[in-house]
Structure formats: structure tokens, C-alpha cells
């Protein structure tokens, strides 16, 4: 199981701060994770299509090709607005 954390307006879409989920076998990278969540709904697909959406694995920013795995804390980050 992985812990999914939703930040900012993505939390509004998720309707919760975090959820525990079993990653499907074909979700091996951060990019796969975004594709998987995008398939949940039109709203998700639209929100995650923005090129500045990032994934953090265990509080570290990762690239789309970087691995993700069960046991990780995986945060979905909308475009950062800065301070």
C-alpha cells in the first residue's frame, strides 16, 4: 500500500487530505501514478494535465521517470504558486 497525499486544489478534487491505496501493477513510476489518477475522472485528467504538476516521493520531488513503490508517501503537487 502507498500513502497518497493531496495538496492544494488537488485536495479539493480528492475530497480528502490523504488516502491509502494499493498501487496497480502497471504503476511503476511517478508518471504512471499521474496517468493512473488521471483515469479516475475527467476532473482529475484536467487537473493533472498541467505540465507544472509534480510528484513528491517521501517528501522529495521526483521526475516522471522515477520509480514509485508500495510503502511510499506519494504527494500530488499542483503547480507551486511560490510565496
Amino acid at each position: 500500500m502507498a500513502k497518497l497525499v493531496f495538496i492544494g486544489r488537488l485536495r479539493d478534487i480528492a475530497g480528502c487530505t490523504e488516502e491509502t491505496a494499493a498501487l496497480p501493477a502497471n504503476v511503476r513510476t511517478a508518471g504512471d501514478l499521474l496517468s493512473w489518477i488521471s483515469s479516475r475522472s475527467e476532473l482529475w485528467a484536467e487537473a493533472l494535465a498541467h505540465p507544472a504538476v509534480r510528484v513528491a516521493r517521501n517528501q522529495e520531488l521526483v521526475a516522471p521517470g522515477d520509480a514509485v513503490a508500495d510503502g511510499d508517501e506519494l504527494a500530488l503537487l499542483p503547480p507551486m504558486s511560490g510565496g
Binding site: 486544489r9 479539493d12 517528501q59 507551486m80 511560490g82 510565496g83
Partner: protein, 157 residues
Amino acid sequence: MSVVIQTEPFDPASALAAFTARQNGEPGAIVTFSGHVRGEGGLTALELESYDGLTEREIARMETEARTGWPLLDVMIIHRYGPMAPVEAIVFVAAAAKHRRSAFEAADFLMDGLKTRAPFWKKEITEAGARWIEPRAEDYVDASRWATAAPKQETSP
């Protein structure tokens, strides 16, 4: 060197006093910047969300980049998150160097980074309701200045 991320309000004047007091007499220049909540457009509050672990680490990384790029003697960054009222300080940056050019440039570089790359998510609360704010195109332009103009070491007195 210090990086502090906090929800409590702070006073930029006191921060400058503390920063100045901890110098050992070496800096000939201290440049500071404080950013405040603009109360325009019927704004009643600004809310910044951070992500524990990530936000502080990324800001510390920017501070390291600034110290690598310029001969700085000290740096202080204070950044608030959570709900903030108009006029309140959001961010404070201080850079100390032997000479002013490095201090000015490093403070400018840090602010551009904080305005674009810092992991914060901003929500404006007005009488009409709340909405999430995405980065402005100008902020990216400001930050991209530093990609081509590599920071220089100071040579003149």
C-alpha cells in the same frame, strides 16, 4: 545561516535587528527584503499551504545555491504559511556580504526563487469566496533571468 518556516506572525524590523546583532563585524552590506500581503481586490486573507518536509528542504536548497553563487557572510530567510491578513509580512530575506553588489544580487535571486520554486500553494480569500492562485507568467520570467546570467564572484572593492 538560517531558514525558518512558521505560521506565527513576525516583525521584519525585529528580524533585521536580530540578523545585524549576530554579525561579527565583517559585513559591509546587509540587504533585506520583506514581502507583505497585498490587500487589493477585496482580499480578506491569504492562505499559504506548505508540504511538511519538502517546503523547508527546497528553501534550504535555494539558500545553498545563493551562497554558492555569491560570497555571502550570512543569510536569513523567514517564510510564513497558514492564514495571513493584509499588510502582514509573508517573507523576509536578509543577505550579508562584504560589499553591496553580492548582497543585492543574492537577495534578488532568493526572492525570485521563493516566488516561483518554493513549494507553497496559495489561496486568496475574499468576501466572494476562496480561490487557488497559480503562478504568474512574470514570476517565471523573473526567475529565468538567473539561468542565463550566472552569478559572479565579487572582485572590486
